[in-house]
Amino acid sequence: MKREYEIGFIINPETADEEAEKIKTSITDILTKGNGSIENVDDWGRKALAYPIEKHNEGIYVFIKTLSPGDVIAAVERRLKLNEKVMRFIVIRLDDKLKKTNKLEKKWKRIERFSRKPESDRERQSGRPAPVTPKPAETVKKEAVKEEKVETKVEKEVVVKEEKVETKVEKEAVVKEEKVETKVEKEAEVKEEKVETKVEKEAEVKEEKVETKVEKEAVVKEEKVETKVEKEAVVKEEKVETKVEKAEKPAEKKEAKTIAKKTVKKEKKVEEEKVKEEKTEEEKPQKPKKAPAKKTTTKKEEKTEEEVENAETK
């Protein structure tokens, strides 16, 4: 049964180097004869001692590592004890310490597991959200940009249409007043009436176009129903004003007693066209989100028509 030992001893510094080597070789011979193998020999040479031993401040240090049976080590210890030139010696068994390291390794493995896990968790935590977070940020930015663009477009369109409607209304009013005056004065009825009807039809057509545009925009921008409703209300109020003006003008014509019947017939046709428009409007907003907003607008138009009829009767 071989075991790993380390033998260390201090030789008296007064001895010569040859004698010191003799002592060394004698010990190694004992080890080798007893089926022991010498693994390593450390010669430190002369070295200062930490404290004086036998009134010597120096010593020759020698360390021998061996793999040998215990009986041989006992013989070596006896030889070292009897030798007068060896001041101190020590024999250490290294197997004992190596056996106990198994526990240490288990402990270290545990420490490694606990020390590695948090690092990996941190990497995962830092890695997982890192690719996820920037994407939504970009998309949000894009959405924000789109919303801003949409808003700007809506505002521009609203402004442009309001201006157009106002201009149309003003022009129509001016044209019709002038025409009414000319009719009353000249009583050259037929051609002018045709012109009036054409003008009115054109105006109505334009209004229809405007309404269709507004509806298309509403289809595109389903989210902003409230704003559209407000716009539509504004547009229709303006239309109502125009209709009232139109209704007042034929009344003036009746008073002038120009060829009223033809105009009335044409007005009726115009009203029929309006009714058709309403129907088209009712048909279009079959989509669920826009239905409530436009029903209110249609009701308003009906009310306005009643007002127009009252004006005609007056």
């Binding site: 930490a50 404290y51 010593g59 020590i90 250490i92 310490k97 190596l98 106990k100 270290w108």
Partner: protein, 90 residues
């Protein structure tokens, strides 16, 4: 024996709270299997100036390494690598 922490009464002379880094076993950190008594320079940090062995509660070494340390220091003393007692001045 886990008890819920009771709100402690404020004492007239409160203890001073010292904050320090958590101690750890430097031998475990370096993965040293056994401590060699020949390396007296490594043992020097675990000895007082007077030559006394520092306790584990001060240095933070684990029990396994503290046992080896104390043995290695004693062996080094025997081999005249470390002084038993450092002479005090005065």
């Amino acid at each position: 024996m886990l008890r819920p922490n009771k709100p402690s009464r404020p004492s007239r002379f409160p203890k001073k709270q010292y904050f320090s880094k958590k101690k750890y076993c430097s031998f475990c950190k370096d993965r040293i299997r056994f401590i060699d008594y020949k390396k007296s320079s490594d043992l020097g940090s675990y000895i007082l100036e007077t030559g006394k062995i520092l306790p584990a509660r001060v240095t933070g070494t684990c029990a396994y390494h503290q046992k080896q340390l104390s043995k290695a220091i004693k062996q080094a003393r025997h081999m005249a690598l470390i002084k038993f007692i450092e002479s005090r001045r005065g």
